[in-house]
Amino acid sequence: MLKLFLERFKRIPREPVPVPEPIEAPPTVSDCGHPDYHAVDGRNLDNYFEQVRQMCEPLANPFCYYEALLDEIARLPNLRIVTVRELARNSRPDSALVCLRHDIDSDPITALRIARHLARIGESGSFYLLHTAPYYAEPVSPGVVVRNPQLVEWIRGFIVSGCEVGLHCDAFGICQNWGMDGIGGVKAELAWLRSQGLALVGTVAHNSGPTYGAENYEIFSERVLWQRVVHTDSGLELPLGQVSMASLGIEYDGTFAVARDETNIYEAAAFFADTESADIRSESWMRRYLVENPACRWTIDAQCWLLGKDRWAIAGYSPGVPDFIWDAQLEDVIAFLAGLPAGSRVMMVTHPEYVSG
């Protein structure tokens, strides 16, 4: 959904410690017959986090903003906080359910802080690690990706905090940006994350349709929006519908987006092709994406997206509730949640960097 963080990251000057670029060309051979010597500077995560901080500063709320949000939600009667997994499993709840989805595009440190705050107050949250983010891994040579060793400690932190952890799936990002096998990458990361002890059963598709011409959840055979062939910039075919969720041990995709009963494929294709308009800070595009999306519909009753400093987009899909509120503030979000009928299923979407101030 967000602009691909990696792309933004690449635009930031990397002095003094540059992030190594993927070594695109195969190793060459020098005159003496030995392979050429290639050296790249190592990634410095301190430098990375400083860049994240600088980039997000104009958008970031103080952390107490998130605490206040949770305090306000806790005060709402008949609204129960659940994990995304529980929300996915519970299609007909007695009370209103709200899940707290956290897409960790760039800031696992703040994500952990959120998870720990939730543990302190005994509430559940769901966190999705983005396997193509610089904090997670980087490609170092054709077909080779190096995971950040700090991940292990972060994952331990998430496990101890008792939150749900899933994969922020970016299979198409692997294909498009790294020129590698996207499904193979997702399989490898699911296996690795589980080997760390995570009981991982959920994914959330990263980015949105316009980024790759397809939604990342469309790798799943059950979730293809309409039959088509999509290519990367370099002409590789994206692996749409090539694996079932069950075969990967995945119970749900936490976007809660599914194919429309009837899809106008021309309209849907045009929406995905319109990369110029795709901007989460554009009211018209967000309305189109969340409410009038020609490619998919949503199987929840509402979703609230934090987009910046006390700035939300809210979409409602139930009769009697507003279908779209733009530029909402915290009070508006709480008022919206308070007005939801019993049995509603609501998703709050937060990118931790937006509460990292």
Binding site: H117, A119, R120, S124, I159, G162, G197
Partner: protein, 510 residues
């Protein structure tokens, strides 16, 4: 300080009982033992166990307590009869204890244990078994595979046990710092708050209805006293002793290895000690574990090795010769000081042993030798006959010397002490002008806190002393002209020792 009650008389009437205490204080162990009585039953954490309500009550978010209790605990306690005593143990009844007792007239067994042992046990419980003790802690812990698996399979929203543990209010100063605290600090907070809560509740309960049990070093007699207090029959001393020896509900009893876990408190470093003290000191005092404040870090039996060992002149002479350069440094420094016009009339030696070397070199001064070993001091009294010299047997940290001296010095004794800061405080307190001390285990200028290692066989510590912490301590005590430097020993195993010199602050006139 609250007074602890220990009831031993056989009760006149049979009543139900509750067995309460902070988690990892031995409540499960005692409950299992008492459950072996022929005329009673002790349930272990029967549900509903008020995990959620306990925290809500602490935070003032609970409504009708009496109704809650009547539907849960009181209904169970009412099943007690003249022939079958019913009791239950739980670790979350702190906020309700006075009401439970008032409404049921039950007896109360309050169990407590040295906070340092409880904190260690909680951390090992987390690291080795469950991974769920204060789940918000910034330190995930050194988790065993079973702990990772356990934590991963218990979502926080279902973890009522961890939820039940108290947290400070977010708006409080501690609440604001909470997310930065270590697990040791969080567990200390829990131990302290939980025990304080019990002690407060017990103040409102008549003495005949309560008994307190210190389970730090449990013995069969104490357990049988509890059984007698509750009117439980059929327990024999040997059977109880056997069950205690099994260490019920320890990690080993639960099938987990105890090797390599969180260190015993005798091996905590200076920072861990400080963190425990900051949050646990008041409760350690109120439960009587730190009655002797100055000796609060002295393990049982500390120094016995010196008390039992016969004075051995040859050994002390060998020791003196082995560190001759250090002793020469002290004497030449003293000479230089006096050459500059500073008058040093008296010199006190912290850890004098048999007075080897200094009793001769300081023959014309009022030399005061202090040592923890009774045998050493007796030997000195017998064989050191310089009338200017006196010798005292005392624990230099816990016992104030009967006089002060212009110079207080110590050569390689602080390395074996149980409280480095306490040792420095005692030296400064006894000095009129200067303190001088050397640390024989080395020069540790990169250590951020002192490292303590207790050797149970030797009954003494082997400490690595942080140069930075000593300097900080001397500054905090108001010392001036402070010097710290490595001294070359000429030995290959330890090539440098640490030497500290400081001028102590002027004393206020009496």
């Amino acid at each position: 300080m609250s007074e602890a009650y220990r009831q031993t008389a056989t009760p006149r009437e049979i009543r139900p009982f509750v067995l309460v205490g902070c988690a990892r204080s031995g409540t499960t162990s005692l409950a299992r033992i008492l459950d072996g009585a022929s005329n009673g039953h002790c349930a272990i954490e029967p549900v509903p166990n008020l995990n959620l309500e306990s925290r809500q009550a602490i935070e003032g978010r609970l409504g009708d307590v009496d109704r809650l209790l009547s539907d849960t605990v009181l209904a169970r306690l009412a099943s007690s009869s003249e022939h079958q005593v019913y009791g239950e143990k739980n670790v979350t009844y702190g906020p309700f204890l006075d009401r439970i007792q008032a409404l049921s007239k039950c007896r109360v067994v309050f169990m407590h244990r040295d906070g340092r042992d409880v904190v260690r046990s909680l951390i090992n419980w987390h690291d080795r078994k469950f991974g769920t003790v204060y789940r918000e802690c910034r330190e995930p812990g050194t988790l065993a595979p079973s702990a990772i698996s356990s934590a991963a399979s218990l979502p926080v929203a279902l973890d009522t046990s961890d939820f039940s543990r108290p947290r400070p209010a977010r708006e409080s100063p501690l609440g604001r710092r909470w997310e930065d605290l270590s697990r040791l600090e969080m567990c200390t907070y829990y131990w302290s708050v939980a025990n304080h809560q019990y002690v407060c509740a017990l103040e409102a309960i008549d003495r005949d209805s309560q008994t307190w049990v210190d389970y730090t070093r449990p013995d069969a007699d104490a357990v049988l006293d509890v059984a007698a207090f509750l009117g439980l029959e059929g327990l024999d001393r040997q059977g109880v002793a056997d069950m205690l020896a099994r260490r019920i509900n320890s990690l080993a009893d639960r099938g987990e290895s105890e090797a390599g876990g969180f260190p015993r408190w005798t091996d905590w470093n200076g920072r861990q000690r400080e963190r425990f003290e900051a949050l646990g000191r008041d409760t350690m005092r109120s439960l009587g574990y730190w009655d002797d404040e100055a000796a609060r870090w002295r393990p049982r039996g500390y120094g016995e090795v010196w008390s039992k060992k016969a004075a051995d002149l040859a050994w002390y002479e060998w020791m003196f010769d082995g560190r001759r350069r250090m002793h020469e440094d002290m004497l030449s420094w003293l000479q230089a000081l006096e050459a500059k016009g500073e008058k040093i009339v008296s010199a006190m030696d912290f850890g004098c042993g048999l007075g080897v070397g200094y009793s001769e070199h300081l023959a014309d001064k009022h030399y005061i030798g202090l040592d923890i070993s009774e045998q050493n001091i007796e030997w000195c009294h017998q064989y050191r006959d310089n009338r200017r010299h006196t010798y005292y047997r005392l624990d230099m940290i816990a016992d104030r010397p009967p006089e002060t001296a212009d110079l207080v010095f110590s050569s390689g004794t602080i390395d074996n002490t149980y409280d480095i800061d306490g040792f420095i405080e005692a030296m400064v307190s006894a000095a009129n002008k200067w303190v001088y001390f050397t640390c024989y285990r080395g020069w540790f200028d990169r250590l951020e806190s002192h490292t303590y290692r207790y050797n149970t066989d030797h009954a003494c510590f082997y400490n690595d002393i942080s140069v930075a912490c000593v300097l900080q301590k001397l500054a905090a005590l108001g010392c001036r002209d402070v010097e710290a430097m490595p001294l070359r020993t000429g030995n290959r195993d330890i090539s440098f020792e640490a030497r500290f010199i400081a001028r102590v602050p002027a004393r206020l006139p009496c």
